[in-house]
Amino acid sequence: MNPGFVIPTGWSALLPELALTGLIGLILIGDVLLKEEAGKILSGIAVAGLAAVGFLVAAQWDQPARTVLAGMFRMDMLAVFFKGIFTIAALTTVLIARQTPALIRRGLGEFYLLILTATLGMFLTASAGNLLMLFVALEMITISFYVMVSYHQEERSLEAGLKYLVLGSIASGLFLYGLAFLFGTTGTADLTEMAAVIQGGLTESPMLVLGLFLVLSSILFKSACVPFQLWAPDVYQGAPTPAVAFLSVGSKAAGFVVALRLLIELLLPLGGVWIPVVVFLSGATILAGNLGAIPQSNIKRLFGYSTIGHGGYLLIGIAAGSFLGTQAILFYLAAYAFTNLAAFLVITAFSKTTGSDEIRDYAGLSRRSPFLAAMFFLALLSLAGVPPLAGFFGKFLLILSAVDAGHGVLAGIGAIAVVISLYYYLMIVKTMYADEPADPSPVPVPTTLRIMLWICAAGMLGLGLIQKPLVNWAAAAAQTLF
């Protein structure tokens, strides 16, 4: 009558998550206790804590894969790889937040808290072994972002927050609806058991296909891909810069870890149904992002379009449906993290002094701050995919995986879009180097941003010149799925 009360075991696999939860508690209490100078002390705690979490994540690398807590949590190389990216993004976001005057005015404590809860959500998303866990984790990310995006409480920021909230809620609804169909067809919410049922020959079930497409729509929303990309430019322009930086790197990576877990690991037997769709959407996303970016005059809005383009490139790897594609996605995401964070560090430093995000105000930046201009130049080249930078090798791997999977046209679109993107990225470079500055006063760069920029530059150049270690790590992580 009374089945044994089984306490789930294996919490030790959750060491980084537990540390992160502790850090969240510390920030929450610290923000209440410290009144004066709370921002500085809290950012110190957040940075130190995230560094410690980073070490705990790194310590899990090369450990054998484990599934603990009744199948809810999976610790494997893929999850650890993604957690590394999330940690770097969160750490940089904390440092960016500290340099954003509008945020400082509104109180930084809560913002740090939201960064950390979003990070915890991302960690759990990467490790989720059950549909229920996955949904809760994704909601944790999205709800944190709703607040971060509207943090300024200026008209633009609120408008961005509202748009993100309405569209995000629809995407969450679609996701849940899709999960219900997946659960109904396979009779289980456990991802490992589900994979076994689907491989047992469920590919013909139309109910499964319906679930698949609903889940796919929601993934496309999270990673800002066609036809759910429209929110990105508005949100990017209106939201506080740190929120945008985190959104572009962390949230995008989270979208793709879900795509890898559900589409590649779980639903690859149904590849015949979804791969043609994803191939088409990938091409459409690349073109929509890169063509949309051309006429933009606001730097953050331009990055809103450019991030759509990069989402399209990442979809190439999903469309390839192969080990090579997965490996390419992982490399690209790591390279993109360093590159995009570098760009947002520059945008933060620039707008801190000038208070502007308009591209025309970047005129003559090479004379006002040669360091910032050079770093921005490097980041833009890497984003466009110019050798020998990290972005080039990432794009190269993705296009290679498309050719390998027989998607020649998609590979062609990917290659052509590099040229389009070079146009609008180099227009910024021209503004920075060739145009006369309206106000020649120098733009100072705070020390923390300077250090982070050097690290990102080292990442962009290092990953571009010596690709082997990261390629090997990406291969080890991709191995989890195959």
């Binding site: 009360f5 089984v6 306490i7 789930p8 959750l14 939860t21 969240i24 929450l28 807590l69 009744a70 809810m72 949590f73 005015r105 509104r106 109180g107 809560e110 808290l113 939201l114 809860t117 915890l120 759990l124 059950n130 229920l132 866990m133 809760v136 984790a137 909601e139 944790m140 709800i143 944190s144 709703y146 607040v147 509207s150 943090y151 409480q153 659960f183 109904g184 067809t185 396979t186 009779g187 049922v197 469920l202 079930s205 139309p206 109910m207 319906l210």
Partner: protein, 165 residues
């Protein structure tokens, strides 16, 4: 197992309520229709043996969340919000188009075969069974949900805080 007549009447209640919520022009009517829909849904849960979920559905949704909706509707009501009329015909057509596509797919799904390929596990929907599952099998998502609630609370306070100058 629920009697077919009961199943169909609860389903009709759910669907008509949902339809009313979408079609109603006055927000107040939309909210009240939603209440009807949630009651019907709760009846369906009882039919599935999920008694706890059925009770929670009424207590939380009909009891708490919809009351909150009503408060919001009454507090922010102004002549402009009184009528939620989507004037743009294209938006309407787009919505109808999406709905039609989804309905078509669902129709095929339903037509494809009566029984689902795998019957879900029979669950015991009592408070004890749900509580036991929450604190053993689902301990991690349960704990994660508490952080989620924390985010919700902090977020609401941050956004409601008076503008700092």
């Amino acid at each position: 197992m629920i009697h077919p007549a009961l199943f169909y009447s609860f389903s009709a209640l759910t669907l008509l309520g949902a339809l009313g919520a979408v079609a109603a022009r006055h927000p107040m009517r939309a909210v009240l229709s939603l209440t009807v829909s949630l009651f019907g849904l709760s009846g369906l849960f009882v039919g599935l043996g999920a008694h706890f979920v059925a009770v929670i559905q009424i207590l939380l949704y009909a009891g708490a969340i919809l009351i909150l909706f009503l408060f919001v509707v009454m507090l922010v009501e102004s002549p402009e919000t009184e009528r939620m009329n989507i004037r743009n015909i294209w938006v309407k057509l787009l919505g109808i188009g999406f709905g039609a596509v989804l309905l078509r797919i669902l129709w095929r799904v339903i037509g494809a075969g009566g029984e689902p390929p795998i019957a879900p596990h029979a669950v015991e929907g009592t408070v004890e069974a749900v509580g036991r599952e929450l604190l053993t099998t689902y301990a991690l998502p349960f704990e994660a949900a508490s952080i989620l609630l924390l985010v919700g609370i902090v977020g609401a306070i941050v956004l409601a805080k008076r503008k700092v100058t």
